[in-house]
């Protein structure tokens, strides 16, 4: 039986939009608008979607790097103790910070240029009680070797490293407290293809060695297919499809996922498919369309899509659970 590590229920993150002389709140950006999601121990869950769909915000909300406006984030420890994270005081959050870590998108801006690598990375170790400097140096040195870098590099400054190396340092930073879950926020998007493959391989190897769980946030669906066990596709702050990664490609249910997959250029002349070209842009999350948020761009939209918001329903494809939120799915719903 798969055990859950995180359970999200109805997570919402709304940012106020202020305007005028008195900075009155004139509206809200509905960055994440009601997400239910469970992450199982030892899996790689992909979170895919276009820019502005709220995937990064959701990743940060889990770690409370942005405060969720509403909803629950439950952490379930190995001994089945449940803790609700969003209601904790800031300092009570500390033990959970150790368990949940993040690798940021841009390796160039996520390291402080005025500290050496050791200087940047030792702080969390200090905070969590590793008092002796030798021990801290040993931990960081070992991890640097684990990501195929030299131990001596810890006394260098970030500007001495290339993008791929910095991203690996970012991974070391996330690993040094021995976390259980790592949120990888577009961890390979800023890298060149040849370096991207190196980092992807490294992430997979570390997962095996250290028994990690990843929430892998990316806009690149070919990477998710390679890496992830399950994939959640987001659109305008909501999850529109959630299923096993193979089913997403072979038994796509939601028209948005279908268009997204067809739009990806495939580096294989034998696998060229017809592009489904969506009209227009992603609507503004300040004022999302009524009904199904995807209906203005959906090639299959009918009248019901304009008025009623579809909910995430459970179906079955290939004997696997498959969630999708669309009115037009022709499969029997499973309760």
């Amino acid at each position: 039986m798969k055990k859950e590590i995180l359970k999200l229920r109805g997570v919402k993150v709304h940012f106020p939009v202020q305007a005028g002389v008195f900075n009155r709140v004139v509206g809200h950006v509905l960055a994440v608008d009601g997400v239910d999601l469970a992450i199982f121990r030892g899996e790689v869950l992909g979170l895919a979607g276009e820019s502005g769909c709220g995937k990064t915000t959701l990743g940060k909300a889990i770690l409370r790097l942005v405060e969720p406006t509403d909803g629950e984030v439950k952490y379930i420890s190995q001994d089945d103790d449940e803790t609700e994270l969003t209601s904790l005081e800031k300092k009570d959050m500390d033990p959970f910070r150790k368990k949940l870590q993040i690798v940021f998108q841009d390796p160039h801006s996520s390291l402080n240029p005025s500290f050496t690598i050791f200087g940047s990375l030792q702080d969390p170790l200090k905070k969590f009680g590793i008092k002796s400097k030798e021990e801290r140096r040993k931990i960081i040195g070992d991890l640097l070797e684990a990501v195929n870098m030299r131990r001596e590099y810890m006394d260098r400054y970030p500007h001495e490293f290339s993008g791929g190396q910095r991203q690996r340092i970012g991974i070391v930073r996330a690993l040094c407290l021995e976390p259980e879950l790592i949120v990888c926020d577009e961890a390979v998007s800023a890298l060149d293809v040849s370096i991207q493959a190196q980092v992807l391989k490294l992430l997979m190897q570390l997962k095996k060695e250290k028994n990690l769980t990843y929430l892998f946030i990316t806009h690149d669906l070919s990477v998710t297919e390679y890496l992830c066990d399950r994939i959640a596709v987001m659109y305008l702050g909501r999850i529109v499809e959630l299923c096993d990664s193979e089913d997403l490609y072979n038994n796509t249910l939601h028209p948005y996922s279908e268009a997204l997959i067809s739009a990806i250029p495939v580096a294989d002349l034998d696998k060229q498919t017809k592009r489904i070209v969506l009209e227009g842009d992603v609507p503004s999350p300040v004022n999302p369309p009524k009904g199904c948020p995807f209906h203005p761009r959906c090639p299959k939209a009918t009248d019901i899509c304009k008025t009623e918001v579809p909910t995430l329903k459970k179906y079955s494809t290939n004997g696997n659970e498959h969630y999708a939120s669309c009115h037009l799915i022709d499969l029997p719903e499973i309760s």
């Binding site: 293809v193 040849s194 992807l200 297919e225 390679y226 490609y249 495939v266 842009d281």
Partner: protein, 337 residues
């Protein structure tokens, strides 16, 4: 090889060097290719391989610290052949060609448009200098261009500033600007890197249409092999300032013969191949351009490196269309027979 009249632009042995801090960066180090009318040539490579510099050289948009060291860029304009590299950078002739006969789409639509002028103004500038249209006609042409690009309400949008356009719309406005004078050659420097995949699909659809309707030759610069597979007729793979392999899309993608091309194709996960596909990273990283390997530039990262690789391999013509720069190409090409 091909019919001479079909070739819109022919580049031979082009070298562009940068001079900074008393050092010389051989950014483009002997590049040759032809672009045919109505065809797309994709130039592929990682960052720093010189693909953007090649584009800037053709447009004569190089910064002051660099110059064209050697080589020829022959552009065919109404049965006349013009050597672009001989023209003065800001001379009358070059200005006539730039923007009207050869146009360029830049990588980042957020910074390539001037935020203090309306989009309409920026498109009409091109028309003002290169055509004899009057003010009213220019405006009409602007609106029809925006309309062709699929921008809704072009009559209204033409007077708006870039900040009120979304990323995809800005890129379309850039394409409208580039297409304003029906150029013979369109150079697109990573036109969709900053955009989402669904918007990217829209832009590609548009470029395909332009190619078919206007017989424009397109030079598309990209780092994404997927884009190459979808759009390219011909492909040139660049590494450290050299073209290492060139040919039709079929040649290069189905029968990659240079180890670098092979490695590039194997290093990206391909959609639809599932979880069990194997990706092979290329070891190491691109060398420092001031401290280059001697001989073959890819040798230190190559799995098939031997002593003979200390000498820069010559370009070898495998068949009519396919050429490669590797000592051991025969060994790879053998397998495809």
């Amino acid at each position: 090889m091909e019919d001479k009249n079909n070739i819109a632009l022919s580049v031979r042995d082009l070298k562009t060097f940068f001079y900074t801090n008393n050092r010389c960066n051989k950014a483009v180090n002997g590049v040759s290719f032809d672009v045919e009318k109505g065809k797309t040539l994709c130039i592929v490579g990682e960052s720093g391989c010189g693909k953007s510099v090649t584009a800037a050289t053709i447009m004569q948009l190089l910064p002051t610290l660099s110059r064209i060291e050697e080589g020829e860029i022959k552009f065919q304009k109404d049965d006349k052949i013009i050597n672009i590299e001989k023209l003065e950078k800001n001379g009358k002739e070059m200005r006539e060609i730039r923007g009207s006969d050869i146009a360029m789409i830049f990588q980042d639509p957020m910074t390539a448009l001037n935020p203090v002028y309306t989009v309409g103004f920026q498109i009409s500038e091109n028309l003002k200098y290169h055509t004899n249209l009057n003010k009213k006609e220019i405006r009409e042409k602007c609106i029809s261009l925006l309309n062709d690009m699929g921008i809704p309400l072009p009559e209204k949008r033409v007077d708006e500033y870039p900040h009120s356009y979304s990323g995809g719309m800005r890129q379309r406005a850039m394409i409208a600007m580039a297409m304003a004078c029906n150029p013979k050659i369109l150079i697109a420097d990573e036109p969709t890197t900053a955009l989402d995949v669904t918007i990217q699909a829209q832009i590609f659809e548009l470029m395909d249409k332009l190619k078919k309707e206007n017989d424009t030759a397109i030079i598309l610069i990209t780092h994404d092999m997927g884009v190459v597979a979808e759009l390219a007729d011909n492909v040139a793979v660049m590494y450290m300032g050299n073209i290492v392999e060139a040919g039709t899309a079929d040649d290069v993608l189905r029968r990659p013969t240079h180890p670098y091309t092979k490695a590039l194709l194997e290093s990206v996960p391909v959609l639809g191949r599932g979880k069990n596909q194997d990706i092979n990273p290329i070891k190491g990283s691109t060398p420092d351009p001031y401290n280059r390997p001697i001989g073959c530039q890819f040798a230190p990262r190559c799995n098939w490196q031997t002593e003979s690789c200390d000498v820069m391999p010559e370009i070898t013509q495998i068949n009519e269309t396919h050429q490669v720069r590797c000592h051991k190409y025969e060994q790879f090409f053998e397998k495809y027979k």
